[in-house]
Amino acid sequence: MKLTNITLVSMMSLLMVACGGGGSDSAPEPAPAPAAVVEEVAVTVVETPTEVVVVEPEQQPDPDAIYDTTAELIAAKSFMLDPEYELTVSYQNQNSRSAYLSVCTEFTEGQNGIKVSYDSCLLRTSVDSDYKGKLMVANDQNRLVMAIWYLDDTKNPRYEIWENDLDSNDVRKFEVN
């Protein structure tokens, strides 16, 4: 999408040059005939795609570059610098049991099973049917637990653990059936 936008903008500026327009602030002269514009568009569209990339002034980040100061550091303009990742969470509630679902980061696995710190949750929700949602998870959190407490059987909660695959570039999914 972004490239398309850039293309269009560049096309328009080329168009203006082609039409002889010198900016709109000081030129009260009448606009050129629309018919001419249409014809020239056809010509430019064919020629510009490679030029756009060249003309684009963005300095591309170099993963191997070493900079002494952050003032010299170059970032991709579209890179938001957020050290977090998106995780889709889904839970299939087989028998539509009334339950309470939490997705949290802090938990321990000991002799007495899993203990969750419910202060560390990203998601907490009542569920009577399936659940699906999207979370933003900090990059230093690579293990999450889903705790499901059933209101018709409060003594037997269910725990599922998800681990991030750091090598994967796929969208992360925490799916529990």
Partner: protein, 665 residues
């Protein structure tokens, strides 16, 4: 306190009723009574039934009988030593006895002479102990019908002040330095507090203490009732309207032998909100394994160190008190380890932030206030939610994310990323996609610049008119603000946390800035919280995702850099990378100086290198020291950026920091 036929001396923690035997196992003393503490020589005195006279008890528990002249042939069980004069007063009702005075002052001519002040049929009260007021010279006692008597021991007269509303044999009574009389009832050990400063003093239940058939107590009336130096009491944390501090008869437990507690630990403190002197957080026994929703069943997991009973309350109507109908768990027997308990939240519960109190004790039935001799109290702030709500938290419900600003925009700064550092967390609550509430909490962690900045959150996609301003809550440092945070004259919903953050914080002594220079640590001086309820029918999908749009703006009347001819004020904003400014921003500021924003491409607040003036980190980030380039505080930051997030994804953690180059408190 002294009890039993073969006497035992107990230390009693009045605040909680906790007691333990102090006297040695082989003490072998006969019954004693009329126990008194002398503030003059700091000995305990008592009437000893074996010697048939008064005795002096030293801190080594040595008992020395003192022979008196004119001693009647009967024992005394009522007595105390005056604070104003060094004299021991003993009393027994009835015509053969009365009120006696014994001078303990060696320099007086009547030293150790027993003198009858008044006959026991003239001063005739069914009292079992009395205690001297810390400064007015009168002795006070409560008789078996609950009448409070103020006794003039010189004149041998008495005045009835009130009926305290509790009857029984009050065998041990004590004063504290502020004029509270503590009366301990033999039959059940209950300790009541009677504030003698009141016009009509009545008994408030105070603590569950030891019971006994014979019983007498003494204490230094000039001492506060909880030791400041070596506290043994655990208090709650809820605001004092709930009854937390000792002044408000707060819920408190004697830590005692430390065997019965919630979670992994209990610590003692001199009072509620006081520092317990350790880093230990002993509020660790309750896990809210489900949310708390009005009209639904909720579940808690209670970790106990041993067998006992749990009582718990939720302030469901949010009136700042735990009312009788707000008890959610009553005398629930728990055992060592995990105890899963389900409870119901009333349908009339109001949504939003409130408090809960959990009390564990061997005592079965407790109220939300008062002292008890064992166990622990834990108070938790919670949110009562609407039924079937989905709560989402960023970065999680009890951790902080960090916003770090360089405020020299549109000029490139020094990249120490500490001109403004804010910790914050966000929560949203929706029911089936309808956004009910948003919560914003945070604290201003550092200001490493002399520019004056305001701080605000915009919720992109939410209109000002969609906010339920009537229920909006905005607190700074825990205090509800009278000024609405919702910015006026805009269509968008913009919440102003502060128009000039320098109004809320100060630099340290000999420091230029707030918490950015080495040696310039201070406490956090500004916290904030916002609860934003919505009018009906706001679709969550129409509102932006976390972290919404936090931004800073120039404070009115304060100059900025040369790029601006005049103080730009509210028209000046700095947002996170590629976040469009608000409608209050002056659009032609973009592109000035080093700014390379390109609105058409959706690129905002970046320089020609694609670097922003603000970063967001979903972590409680330690910011770089003043003038310290972020690269030298976080050596992996550059690689994270140049790889567009492929490498060193955890560059921001404390483990990956250069410890000498980040600010330390």
């Amino acid at each position: 306190m002294i009890q039993d036929k073969i006497a035992n001396l107990y230390s009693v923690q009045l605040a909680t009723g906790f007691y333990e035997k102090s006297s040695p196992l082989d003490w072998n003393q006969e019954k004693m009574n009329a126990l008194a503490f002398s503030v003059h020589d700091r000995y305990l005195y008592a009437f000893n039934y074996y010697y048939g006279t008064i005795v002096r008890i030293g801190s080594d528990f040595q008992v020395a009988p003192i022979s008196l002249s004119n001693l009647p042939d009967k024992g005394f069980y009522v007595g105390d030593i005056s604070v104003n004069e060094n004299a021991y007063y003993l009393y027994r009702p009835g015509g053969s006895y009365g009120l006696y005075r014994v001078s303990l002052d060696e320099t007086t001519s009547d030293y150790l002479q027993m003198e009858k002040v008044v006959n026991g049929s003239t001063l005739n009260h069914a009292i079992y102990d009395f205690a001297f007021h810390p400064d007015n010279g009168f002795a006070y006692a409560v008789d078996r019908w609950g009448n409070l008597w103020k006794i003039n021991v010189q004149a041998g007269t008495s005045v009835k002040l009130s009926n305290v509303g509790e009857a029984g044999v009050f065998g041990a009574v004590y004063f504290d330095v502020t004029g509270n009389l503590y009366i301990s009832r033999n039959s059940d050990g209950n300790i009541f507090r009677v504030n003698t400063n009141w016009d009509y003093p009545v008994a408030e239940f105070f603590a569950y203490g030891p019971s006994s058939s014979n019983n007498d107590g003494a204490r230094c009336a000039l001492a506060p009732i909880i030791s400041q130096e070596s506290p043994t009491t655990d208090f709650g944390d809820a605001p004092d309207s709930y009854g937390s501090s000792i002044n408000n008869n707060g819920a408190r437990h004697d830590v005692g032998e430390g065997t019965l507690f919630l979670g992994e630990a209990v610590t003692s403190e001199p009072n509620a909100y006081a520092d317990n002197g350790t880093e230990v957080n002993d509020n660790d026994g309750i896990q809210f394994v489900t949310g708390v929703e009005a009209g639904k069943t909720a579940i808690v997991d209670i970790t106990s160190s041993g067998g006992g009973f749990v009582n718990a309350w939720v302030d469901s109507d949010k009136d700042g008190e735990f009312d009788a109908d707000e008890q959610i768990i009553t005398a629930e027997a728990v055992t060592s380890g995990s105890n899963v308990v389900a409870y119901d939240i009333p349908t009339w519960a109001e949504t939003g932030a409130t408090w809960t109190r959990f009390r564990l004790s061997s005592e079965q039935n407790l109220t939300p206030i008062g002292g008890v001799s064992d166990g622990e109290v834990e108070d938790y702030p919670i949110d009562i939610a609407e039924q079937n709500v989905t709560a989402m938290h960023y970065p999680s419900s009890d951790t902080w994310a960090t916003l770090a600003f360089e405020d020299n925009w549109p000029l490139v700064g020094d990249y120490d990323m500490n001109d403004l550092v804010v910790h914050y967390r966000l929560s949203s609550y929706d029911v089936s996609g309808t956004l009910m509430r948003v919560k914003i909490e945070g604290e201003v962690v550092a200001i490493g610049a002399s520019y004056h900045n305001g701080f605000a959150f915009r919720l992109p996609g939410l209109l000002r008119s969609q906010v339920d301003t009537g229920r909006l809550s905005f607190k700074i440092n825990g205090v509800e603000q009278s000024v609405s945070p919702l910015e006026a004259d805009t269509d968008e919903a913009i919440f102003i946390i502060g128009n000039d953050l320098w109004d809320f914080v100060t630099a340290g002594e000999n420091c230029k800035f707030y918490r950015t220079e080495s040696g310039c640590g201070s406490n956090i001086q500004m916290t904030f919280s916002l609860e934003i309820p919505m009018e009906a029918n706001v679709n969550k999908v129409d509102v932006a995702d976390f972290p919404y749009d936090p931004f800073i703006f120039a404070s009115e009347g304060h100059e900025r850099s040369y790029v601006f001819g005049e103080a730009p004020g509210r028209r000046y904003e700095i947002h996170l990378k590629n976040q469009a400014p608000t409608e209050a921003f002056q659009a032609n500021f973009l592109g000035r100086g080093d700014d390379a924003s390109n609105a058409t491409n959706g690129e905002y607040f970046i320089n020609e290198n694609g670097m922003p003036w603000a970063i967001n980190i979903p972590y409680e980030w330690k910011h770089p020291l003043e003038y310290m380039d972020i690269k030298y505080a976080y050596p992996n930051f550059h690689s994270f950026v140049t790889s567009s997030g492929e490498l060193n994804v955890d560059w921001f953690t404390v483990e990956k920091s250069a410890p000498n180059n980040v600010f330390k408190q």
